[in-house]
């Protein structure tokens, strides 16, 4: 052990005072772990510095449906996992040792008991986990099915409903319970404005996107210019079907969404969404589930198109999987499919199953419904498989460890 002389203590931070000072390391890429939620549990893939080798570790919560597993980007320690077993109700599990041990939330997301005579809601799935802004270190949000919003102020141990949404009489008008989204209608995107964490956007399948500027006390529909499916009125106030929404942390006024009816972008304070997916090739279309941002360039965005024609097969168009990238905020798109199957590739990438790391160049990762995990270490120019034969993949998060 190093001696703890007063002189050293005065110049070395207390956290490191017990260790000899390390030599400064050469600049290197951050260490990336891939957090993969599947229909049968979660997997954690540890990459080497070059992102050329990956060690698959797991399954965690084996046999449970894991919709989302997220590492807190603020402490890079707290791991939350939204899971339910087939037989059992949904819960949230928490680990602070990268999954060696898990502890269940003391109070997982749940609705308030309904008054006598009223059929109350019950959380069926926690679907989406969102750390709040850096200025609120222990605050998380969770989106559920049926579409409801919950908040934790203690790093995911206890959760409470956001009454302004969950008890809002308009909630079931905006997001009707009879919506037939597979596995139930969901709140799947929760975007926190990093400048003001009382300003949030949420996305709900079969309901649309909604905005609050008072921490969730009041909400308004945020769908102007977005087409709605299965609605005689093409541009109603609500009833749209966002599949995935993303707000750029470096330009928080810019939001993208991959919608059931195309790819859209908005730059606030504008209120009208623009369908930037119209510039996608007609034979591919602009339907898909996920949309992924470049961590440093708000003009760069990736999508994974799927077939939304005829009976909506929801697989790669023509059996030829491809990522499309825009580097001009959606004005134009380029196909990125080098390394991916050239034919007979019929998988889908779910809305939470495509992610980017923070490295330079950016690493991209997507998981498929057929249990394959693919990556690109060069911002999509070429792709290679990382894992195969996993269960049906629901979510992929590329987290930075250090």
């Amino acid at each position: 052990m190093a001696s703890r002389s007063p002189k050293k203590k005065s110049v070395v931070r207390s956290r490191t005072a017990r260790k000899p000072a390390k030599r400064p390391k050469a600049a290197r890429q951050p260490r990336v772990v891939l957090l993969v939620g599947t229909r049968k549990g979660a997997f954690i893939l540890h990459g080497n510095g070059a992102r050329t080798r990956w060690r698959t570790e797991g399954p965690h919560r084996f046999g449970e449906i894991v919709n989302h597993i997220v590492l807190d980007p603020r402490d890079r320690t707290t791991l939350l996992c939204a899971a339910r077993a087939g037989h059992l109700g949904p819960s949230i599990f928490r680990s602070t040792d990268m999954g060696k041990t898990w502890k269940e939330a003391a109070a997982p997301p749940s609705f308030k008991p309904a008054p006598p005579g009223v059929v109350g809601d019950a959380v069926q799935h926690t679907f989406f986990l969102a750390p709040s802004a850096a200025s609120e270190p222990d605050v998380w949000y969770a989106g559920t099915s049926p579409p409801a919003l919950f908040r934790s102020d203690d790093g995911g141990v206890t959760w409470r409903g956001i009454d302004g949404w969950n008890d809002n009489p308009l909630r079931k008008v905006w997001c009707p319970p009879e919506d037939q989204t597979p596995d139930g209608s969901i709140m799947h995107s929760i975007l926190v404005d990093p400048r003001d964490p009382t300003h949030l956007y949420v996305g709900c399948s079969g309901g649309g996107s909604f905005e609050t500027t008072d921490g969730g006390a009041t909400w308004r529909p945020f769908n102007e210019g977005v087409e709605a499916p299965a609605n005689p009125e093409p541009f109603p106030e609500y009833g749209q079907d966002p599949h995935c929404m993303a707000l750029h942390p470096l330009r928080p006024d810019r939001i993208y969404q991959q919608n059931h009816c195309g790819i859209y972008r908005i730059d606030r304070p504008a209120t009208l969404w623009e369908r930037v997916g119209r510039s996608m090739p007609a034979e591919v279309g602009d339907i898909g589930f996920p949309i992924v941002l470049h961590p440093r360039d708000p003009d760069t965005v990736w999508v994974f198109p799927m077939d939304g024609t005829t009976v909506w097969p929801r697989v790669s168009p023509d059996g030829k999987p491809a990522v499309y990238r825009s580097r001009d905020a959606g004005k134009s798109w380029e196909r990125q499919d080098r390394g991916l199957p050239r034919e007979q590739g019929w998988y889908t990438v779910k809305r939470q199953a495509f992610g980017a790391d923070e490295c330079d160049p950016v690493g991209l990762y997507f998981g498929t419904t057929s249990g394959e995990l693919w990556m690109s270490a060069n911002e999509g120019r070429s792709w290679s498989p990382v894992a195969a034969h996993l269960p049906h993949i629901y979510s992929v998060v590329a987290a930075t460890l250090d």
């Binding site: 077993a85 087939g86 059992l88 109700g89 609705f111 019950a122």
Partner: protein, 86 residues
């Protein structure tokens, strides 16, 4: 009284297939179980007090559909899981 725990819930009971719990009704018994094994109740009973769709509660081999079902000392309570699909 003795309660049989199905395999999906044994992570709460340290792997035990049978545990002891008390209560004059099923609701009380489940509350007692939750005191000993925090979290176990919510996995079986939703926040509105409804038995989850794939959970079956049996008292002396008879299906109980209501948590107000009365219990007496010596009753045999079985929790079973019923689920089909892949």
């Amino acid at each position: 009284m003795r309660v049989a725990i199905p395999s999906p819930l044994r992570s709460y009971t340290g792997g035990r297939e049978h545990v002891q719990a008390r209560g004059a009704t099923l609701a009380e018994l489940l509350a007692d179980l939750d005191r000993d094994f925090p979290g176990i109740r919510f996995r079986m009973i939703d926040e509105q007090g409804r038995i989850r769709v794939h959970i079956r509660l049996f008292v002396n081999a008879e299906l109980a559909r209501d948590l107000s079902r009365a219990l007496t000392e010596g009753d045999d309570v079985q929790i079973l899981c019923a689920l089909s699909g892949g």
